[in-house]
């Protein structure tokens, strides 16, 4: 049976359209790499300066000059290019990246995202997250629905310092797929075996649920 993260990743892979330029955030989103088939014409952008990343195949020797922004050794697929950090972020700020997947500490009903700092506890710097969150055309958050203590991560309003406001289009968790809409978070899909009441109980943000249109994943 698929684990929670496998279910999130498999569902997330369905967001990617052939021909797109996609950025994968550090952590869970990076693992989406393995869900994009080699023959799919998608270029994965990594903000350290490469477009067209591909995971290293088993037994392929690492190229010490070829990493992604998480520090993992990668290779490239046909159509790839490498460039400096200014060009890489010009691409981001000019919204030439179609889609990005990011993790979250908190995400809220207005599409606000907090994923870089927990004051007093965790503040290693923001890296490229702010520019990605603010400027990529479509941002899909991938995260566990609740933190390890069971507290909701899908909030009515973020409490942590924001990465960017109103930047999130869709949220994919182990429990649901939710769209940020002007009316609030609308549930698109709900996890197999979960009922809407359980989902509401695990979520701080109010949810718009139309059971007749809702899918399962």
């Amino acid at each position: 049976m698929a684990s929670d993260t496998q279910r999130i990743l498999a569902r997330a892979a369905r967001e990617v359209i052939p021909g797109q330029i996609v950025n994968l955030g550090i952590g869970l989103p990076t693992r989406l790499f393995h869900y994009l088939p080699d023959e799919m014409e998608v270029l994965v952008h990594s903000e350290n300066g490469v477009l067209g990343c591909r995971p290293r195949r088993d037994g392929e020797a690492p190229d010490h000059d070829m990493i992604d922004s998480g520090g993992a050794y990668i290779t490239t697929r046909p159509g790839a290019s490498v460039f400096d950090s200014a060009t890489s972020f010009a691409m981001i700020r000019r919204s030439r990246v179609d889609l990005t997947f990011m993790g979250a500490f908190e995400v809220d009903a207005d599409g606000n995202l907090a994923n870089w700092k927990i004051p007093g506890k965790f503040s290693p710097g923001i890296g490229g997250a702010m520019e990605l969150a603010q400027k990529v055309r479509r941002l899909v958050v991938l995260c566990s629905h609740n933190d390890k203590h069971g507290n909701p991560k899908i909030l009515a309003r973020c409490r942590l310092p924001l990465t960017a406001s109103g930047c999130v289009s869709r949220i994919i968790t182990d429990k649901a797929v939710m769209d940020v809409t002007p009316a609030g978070l609308a549930v698109v899909d709900i996890a197999e075996g979960l009922d809407p009441a359980d989902l509401r109980a695990a979520t701080e943000a109010p949810l718009l649920i139309d059971e007749s249109r809702m899918g399962r994943f």
């Binding site: 014409e41 270029l43 477009l51 067209g52 290019s81 490498v82 700020r93 919204s95 030439r96 055309r137």
Partner: protein, 233 residues
């Protein structure tokens, strides 16, 4: 943005989508790097009331010179018209509005749009006519002129090689404004002498990554070297 898999166009279709009255960046410094084939197709296509942004006005009878002579150009944003007397005549007769910027500032105003900034702070031209009317700001105890980013609806650029995703390689001094414009406009139409499959361009040699390019058109070297004129040294 255009999907990677849908960028290859024929030249007529590529320029037909440019609207009347568009603001268009045009690559090239003199002839090298000028997208002559795209410009000729644009002349053919008929759009007028254009604002062009190009380092220079090419020469009479070629490149944007032809568009100016045909009355299609309302405004030209440039650094120098030295090689085009017909453009100078059109300017002096009031048929062509011309806005001059120092060449490096023109390049940076374009680059600034391509980087997604609103403007930059410069000390170039302070105390000269160029700085008249330019807004100033003080930073770290020094006055700086604010140069706003220069935006365009479309960029027409020339490359030596492209692949069908839109990765571009320029050659020698045909580079000039092309890589800057290829990042700066809303729609970027590139012509290239050679159009390859993805993976055929050496990855370290790509100057403009495909993410910035909307459409790619293959052109014959012959149709785009009409601009070559002898200049003495």
């Amino acid at each position: 943005m255009t999907l990677l898999t849908e960028k290859v166009r024929d030249i007529e279709a590529a320029v037909a989508a440019i609207p009347e009255g568009a603001t268009i960046m045009v690559g090239g410094f003199g002839s090298p790097g000028t997208p002559f084939a795209l410009l000729d197709a644009l002349l053919e296509s008929g759009q007028g009331g254009l604002t062009l942004i190009k380092n220079d006005a090419n020469e009479p009878g070629i490149g944007i010179g032809r568009l100016i002579e045909a009355g299609r150009v309302k405004r030209l944003i440039t650094s120098h018209l030295g090689l085009n007397r017909t453009a100078i005549e059109a300017m002096n007769a009031g048929r062509l509005e011309v806005i001059f910027h120092p060449q490096g500032l023109l390049a940076e105003k374009i680059r600034c749009a391509g980087a997604g900034h609103g403007g930059f702070l410069t000390d170039i031209g302070q105390g000269t006519e160029i700085a008249e009317g330019r807004r100033e700001i003080e930073l770290d105890g020094r006055p700086w002129g604010i140069e706003p980013a220069l935006h365009a609806d479309v960029a027409l650029v020339h490359a030596e090689r492209a692949d069908r995703y839109g990765n571009l390689i320029y050659r020698a001094t045909a580079s000039n404004f092309n890589p800057l414009m290829a990042m700066a406009a809303e729609q970027v139409i590139a012509q290239a002498y050679r159009l390859d499959a993805p993976g055929e361009l050496p990855i370290d040699a790509i100057h403009t990554p495909c993410a910035f390019v909307s459409q790619v058109v293959q052109v014959d070297r012959a149709t785009s070297e009409q601009g070559v004129r002898p200049h003495g040294l």
